[in-house]
Amino acid sequence: MAGLHKSDFANPVINWIDTRLPIFTMMQKEYGTFPTPKNFNYFWNFGALAVVALMVMIVTGIFLAMNYTPNVTMAFDSVERIMRDVNYGWLIRYVHMNGASMFFIVVYIHIFRGLYYGSYKTPRELLWMIGVVLLLLMMATAFMGYVLPWGQMSYWGATVITNLFSAIPVVGPGIVTWLWGGFSVDNPTLNRFFSLHYLLPFVIVGVLFLHVAALHITGSNNPLGIDVKSPQDTLPFHPYYTIKDSVGVCVFLLVWAVLVCFVPNYLGHVDNYTPANPMATPADVVPEWYFLPFYAILRSVPNKLGGVSMMFGSILVMFVLPWFDTSPVRSCRFRPIYRQLMWVLVADALLLGAVGAHPPQGIWVVIGRVCTAYYFLHFLVILPFLGKLERPLPLPESISRPVIAGGGGGLPGGAPAKPMEKP
């Protein structure tokens, strides 16, 4: 395999490098000419948006870390000093703080896209599973980041979540002490969380590389969910999708800027502006919005171990999803019943979010339990059975057919052709 690469680049410097290390050829192949289905809609922006979010988080995070002090007596004040005395510190901190929310919004929509258009199905199972790993890493990162400013919610959130591990029989309490580095959330906990909060984003970068590598082996799915059949079905990634992604990036940055500049604390909790106080529990410990559905599942189960298992289970089912969906058709556009159940699942997740925001009393307990049950019902029961029962709509022959014929982006989601008649 050894041997110099025969580079096609005209520029002598680039050619010299490319001959010895063909990264320019690689970039050209993977992002320049890379054949990409021509019928993407704007849902296909969200992967690129997540990458932008990750980059911004890393850059702002590094600047925060230059001024942040991971010590229980100084952490809160050091964040305030960033806000007041560091040049543009308020901007860096509010971008980072709201960036976590933007990152999760984007990734949740990205996941929805995968579910709706069946991007998890063969041959993209591994790509999907790597994505679930990315979600778990993001959650760990955001959880530990939220502890760093050492406000009341930081402290009590960390206490509640780390305490979950005590539900594990026999070894649980030992694990919790080990996680804390002591007998309560304290300075050693803050120190290790800071260290890990700095580390994990770079682990995410590594796993993201695998995610993209796997994507470039299988190629992208598309809104029709059918395979690319001929070069007619594709466009080179550049300039078609570089420009389409750029439109999305602009809108994404616009929303982010509005949050940062006009309502920077809207998505946060007021209690985190009160310094951590181990002697005073806040009236209601609530996590950041992006964890609320999972928090709701946790609290819906009367048994602690059960709740913890269900909460982790709600993400773990994503790993086996490719094998639970028995339908041969990927895109919901051609699955008349499942398409509607997808929206019910979205409604279910949003409702779980609302449940997580409320103290577990009265009607919220009931809604929480029903929604939790439905969530698992969807993945473990509906998905396997519906794939066998449902009659999909006729699939188009190829991506370019409907695009050329209809001139307007294939079969619209709302009004597809008539279902197949019974034979």
Partner: protein
């Protein structure tokens, strides 16, 4: 089986439920026994909002003459007062009127010196224990970021300062507690701090209770968000720029894609 029937059957009720649930979310913050907050007009509201420097300066006077007897404001330096329009000389003079601990003298005794613009706001008590001891066991919270640390922000603080009255007949008050409509639980350890005419404003504004409450709240909002003026200005510029950028990017996208269909 007509799939179209499923849509109204499943999806609509689900969304109605969500709607109801989300509407109910804001209600969470309010305890049942406190009335809803009335939204006041604040100069720093909205996209173009900036602090009303005259109000914030009057608020500083209220803080200095009333609140600072009990509440610290540890994150603030005297130099930060430039943010509400005090010039260098005014800041120096303001600080110099306040005595802070100085270096020990030759015999090792503690001394006092006039504060400098580079000093932190002086705290009324040497530590939390002393603060509690002087306030019947309750700790007056630091006011640096208090405005951001309460649901309702400025509207809540304004309401709280105006919310004192005699307890309703039959309500049992605990020892040393004061009735306040807006405080969660209605019993607050802080005695009514403002009654009207507590300060004589240097700019001659009549110091009614509402005026003082409004001014000191403006100052507390400044203390918690000293970057607000700059943040709003940056936001307006960023939004205009990004709208423009989105526009030309979209136009370019249309142009590049024109040959595709």
């Amino acid at each position: 089986m007509r799939p179209a029937i499923l849509l109204p059957a499943f999806v609509l009720p689900a969304f109605v439920l969500i709607g109801a649930a989300l509407l109910a979310v804001p209600a969470r913050a309010q305890e049942s026994e406190t009335p809803p907050l009335v939204h006041q007009h604040w100069s720093f509201d909205g996209v173009f909002g900036t602090f009303d420097n005259a109000a914030a300066q009057r608020g500083l006077q209220v803080y200095q003459q009333v609140c600072s007897a009990c509440h610290s404001m540890k994150q603030m330096y005297y130099r930060n007062l430039a943010g509400i329009g005090l010039n260098e000389d005014q800041i120096k003079a303001f600080a110099a009127a306040i005595l802070v601990p100085g270096p020990a003298d030759e015999s090792g005794q503690p001394t006092q010196r006039p504060a400098l613009p580079s000093d932190h706001f002086k705290s009324p008590f040497p530590n939390d224990e002393a603060a509690r001891a002087a306030n019947g066991g309750a700790l007056p919270p630091d006011q640096s970021v208090l405005e951001k640390a309460r649901e309702g922000g400025p509207d809540y603080i304004y309401a709280l300062l105006n919310g004192y009255s005699d307890p309703p007949a039959g309500m049992k008050m605990q020892q040393g507690m004061n009735y306040n409509r807006y405080f969660p639980g209605n019993q607050i350890a802080m005695p009514q701090p403002l009654h009207g005419n507590d300060v004589t404003y240097v700019d001659g504004t009549p110091s009614s209770l509402e005026q003082e409450a409004h001014d000191v709240t403006t100052f507390l909002a400044f203390a918690a968000n000293p970057e607000l003026n700059e943040r709003h200005a940056t936001g307006v510029k960023a939004v205009l720029f990004l709208v423009f950028l989105t526009g030309i990017t979209y136009a370019l996208k249309r142009k590049i894609w024109a040959d595709v269909h």
